[in-house]
Amino acid sequence: MKILVCIKQVPDMESKFKIDDAGTWYSKADLAWRMNEYDEYAVEQAVQVKEQLKEGDITVLCIGSDKVKETMKKALAMGCDRGAHVSDEDSSLKEPLQIAGVIAEYARDKGFDLIFTGMQSQDRGSGQVGLLVAEMLGLPGVSTVVDFSIEGGVIAAKRELEGGMKACVSLKVPAVITCQLGLNTPRYPTLPNIMKAKKKELISTPIAELLKVDARQGTEKMYFPEKKGGGLVLEGETPELVEQLVKILKEKTSVLS
């Protein structure tokens, strides 16, 4: 079983974000970086499939500057076998179609049986890449998967729908799966695996070799939502709260008049 896992390095969401000088993306200064949360589910699922089948080879792919190799090493420590780094200093300027194009170009002649991605990235959140890859490769794509099993090349997956509904999907490999929260609990890499990961194959390819798709959309502007009147939290014992509320209603509204 040949498996590809596509991951993205994203800023930690606790960071204090600022808009960059061009006004089209966040500034990269003072950010802490980590693996996109949904991609961690993808890595974990790939490793679980390999463990279940007791055979397989997992390639982890990531697009970005050399810095993303740190995040790739975590995927290797979790159990991926080799790393495919697509070197690109400006990956944040690429639109989802271009990213998907690069992945599809990389995967096209390699005969992957399964491709796992996160259902979306925590920073851009387009949710398009996985399914675009499936389309470009002519493979079935299943999105927002929260339950996954495979038996004799047949996948049984559960997708999460709105309102808590689940859809059961059955399909044959090869296929593309995008992973949602709840699919699994990503493992904490063990020390021997961290050490082994340092010696695993990690090959960088310049993005120019794989980027054959033109952009069809561009980001015009990125900005924080305007601050509007905030909420007001009243504190104190119930009788005081009632008094305060009545006062506010009288002063600022006409409901009591």
């Binding site: 606790e14 204090k16 003072d30 950010l31 802490a32 980590r34 020390l191």
Partner: protein, 660 residues
């Protein structure tokens, strides 16, 4: 008359006595050596560990704690019973050795007798009283164990054997003496020099001389046989503690107190880390359980045990040794119970009180290391989340690393990146930097430094968690990663002194970081502030304050800093109402050992229990010196519904309000 007695009176000093006696002795000693040798073979299955350097220091520990019984009598009841019994039995042993020397060497070979005259009188009365003392003390211990057993005391067949054997040896000794005196000494001026023997003599004298001679002879041989069986029983029963506990003082950890073994993570030949099986522990880890006397002092003080968690330090240590003897291939982690292993707060109460020099905490950390480093396993998902947060942002709270110095923005202090010419580097720690409640403490400390004219610098976003909670949870890899980054940063700025307001940071920087190359002086804020006051640079004015003081485990037991914080509080006008459990006996807040990262899911809440102890003192303020303690107490006063009665505060806050 000459004051002496005939050795071997009535039993004879000929070959018919000496040959069976010495044959028995040789057999008994041979069995003793064989028993010891068999156990030594088991100790030798452990990994090597050097514990025979600094011989003089080690011997001094043996003198202090074996001969002087210092640790044993620290708990007066029942420690004093053991102490007095030990000293009494020691005198009896010396007395017996003197008899052997005279009868079988000096007298036999050179016709020299020294057990005569005044020396004999003293010899006689001292041994007599020592024997009585032993019986009384043993009786006291027996009554305690069998009639009024304290909670948690385990009584096994070993205990019955030991009590019975010792009592039988002592009582037969007095019967021999009484029978002899009834025939030879009654009515002589020598008799009063054996007061206990005299009472026995008077009691047995009615049976007449022939009866007495027979009684004496039979009892003499019974007594000898009992002593020989006693020798044989030493390695086979808890009697072994006579040898193992004594030896364990020689093999003590000579410090720095509580410093963990630094794992070599770069060692490429190493395939496993931590301990999940016997072969990954040292010989000392196996030996410790044999030195344990099950006195349960550790268990009595363990915050986990006392809040219904599955950990007893005593049972864990003994289980490891049981595995070594009975089940050497067993899975150490399963057998010791994961929940027990995770429950430890590394508060060191067990190790500090142990009268057998056992090292409990290191073993628990080794087991945790195996779970974390080899299995990626934690006590709960929240702990894994905290570990991952620390990997990304350098703090377990998951706050953005770039905001680490934001708390100090308006205080007029700079980061070392802005200005590295400072008197001291304040290593703030994660809670002082990010936690709203503890930021107040950090600000108070800076205010105090500024009042004393001390120029303080911080690392700001260049500081990372010191790694202590991660290390104590077993995550040595993450700890070393953080430590190396911090050390590199600190070294680059070449500061003269580091001050910490978190005892966990203090202990880690001052002890653990030494293994990784940090040489800078590190002081804790309580000592630092005390020095500023003593030198007149900082003035504090007194005001009324009714408080109780909580010794954090890492300032207290781990570093023996008990007085400076109390002196600071007194200078601030505080009247301290001590809790029952204070200083070395202080009760943990629950957050040590990395437990600050974990939810407390088992048993009672430790912090609530501690808060209730503080409430009992009637004090209005609970003063502590540690961000973890403060956090746990802020939560604990809610759990104990004591928010109106008790206010948790840090010592720096108290002082900053009382600047003179």
């Amino acid at each position: 008359m000459e004051f002496t007695r005939e050795i071997y009176w009535n039993v004879g000093h000929g070959a018919s006595t000496l040959i069976p006696m010495y044959l028995l002795t040789i057999v008994a000693l041979a069995l003793l050596v064989k028993g010891i040798w068999q156990r030594v073979q088991v100790y030798r299955t452990g990994l090597p560990l050097v514990r025979n350097d600094q011989v003089a220091t080690r011997l001094l520990r043996v003198v202090d704690n074996v001969l002087l019984q210092k640790k044993v009598v620290q708990v007066a009841w029942p420690g004093m019973l053991h102490g007095l019994f030990f000293w009494g039995f020691g005198l009896l042993f010396i007395g017996t050795v003197l008899i052997v020397i005279q009868a079988d060497f000096t007298d036999l070979l050179f016709d020299v007798k020294f057990l005569t005259g005044t020396f004999y009188k003293l010899f006689s009365i001292v041994l007599d009283i020592a024997g009585l003392l032993c019986i009384l003390m043993l009786g006291g211990l027996l009554v305690r164990r069998y009639f009024f057993p304290p909670e948690g005391l385990e009584t096994k067949s070993d205990d019955a054997v030991m009590h019975g054997m010792l009592l039988a040896i002592l009582i037969t000794g007095f019967i021999i003496e009484g029978a002899r005196m009834a025939v030879t000494e009654l009515g002589t001026p020598l008799a009063p020099w054996s007061p206990v023997g005299l009472v026995v003599a008077k009691a047995v004298s009615p049976i007449g001389e022939n009866g007495l001679l027979a009684l004496h002879k039979v009892t003499w041989w019974v007594h000898l046989l009992l002593v020989m069986v006693f020798f044989y029983l030493i390695p086979a029963t808890k009697f072994r503690h006579i040898l193992t506990t004594s030896a364990n003082y020689f093999f003590s950890d000579l410090g720095p107190k509580g410093k963990l073994v630094n794992l070599d993570l770069e060692d490429e030949d190493k395939e496993t880390f931590g301990a999940s099986s016997l072969k990954e522990l040292t010989w000392k880890d196996i030996f410790d359980g044999d030195a344990c006397t099950q006195c349960k002092r550790c268990q009595d003080r363990c915050p986990a045990y006392n809040t219904d968690k599955p950990l007893s330090p005593m049972k864990l240590v003994r289980e490891i040794t049981r595995i070594a003897h009975d089940d050497p291939e067993g899975n150490m982690i399963e057998l010791c119970d994961k929940d027990a292993i995770w429950s430890c707060t590394t508060c060191r109460a067990c190790q500090e009180i142990c009268p057998a020099a056992i090292e409990h905490v290191g073993k628990i950390i080794e087991l945790r290391r195996s779970m974390v480093l080899m299995e990626g396993e934690f006590p709960g998902e929240e702990v894994m989340t905290a570990m991952e947060a620390t990997e990304v942002n350098g703090n377990p709270l998951g706050m953005g690393y770039a905001e680490r110095g934001d708390w100090a923005e308006d205080l007029g202090i700079k980061t070392l990146a802005q200005d590295s010419e400072v008197d001291v580097l304040y290593f703030v720690g994660c809670y002082g930097s990010f936690d709203k409640r503890n930021i107040k403490v950090a600000k108070s400390f800076v205010k105090l430094c500024q009042a004393a004219g001390v120029k303080v610098g911080i690392l700001g976003k260049e500081e990372k968690c010191c790694g202590e909670p991660m290390r104590k949870m077993g995550n040595e890899y993450l700890y070393q990663t953080l430590a190396m980054e911090n050390i590199e940063m600190i070294k680059a700025y070449d500061v003269a002194k580091i001050v910490t307001s978190c005892p966990h940071c203090y202990n880690t920087l001052n002890k653990d970081y030494r293994d990784l190359g940090l040489e800078t002086e590190v002081v804790t804020y309580t000592v630092f502030l005390k020095e500023l006051i003593d030198s007149g640079r900082l003035r504090i004015s007194g005001g009324e304050l009714s408080c109780t003081y909580h010794d954090s485990c890492y300032l207290g037991r781990h570093n023996d800093i008990y007085d400076p914080p109390r002196e600071l509080l007194k200078l601030a006008g505080a009247a301290i109402s001590e809790m029952d459990k204070n200083r070395a006996e202080g009760f943990c807040c629950s957050a040590g050992g990395g437990r600050i990262l974990a939810e407390e899911k088992l048993g009672e809440r430790i912090n609530v229990k501690r808060v209730n102890m503080a409430v009992e003192t009637g004090a209005e303020v609970l003063v502590s010196n540690c961000p973890f303690c403060l956090t746990m107490f802020e939560d604990g006063v809610k759990g104990a519904e004591a928010e109106d009665k008790l206010q948790p505060r840090d010592i720096a806050e108290i002082l900053a309000e009382r600047l003179g």
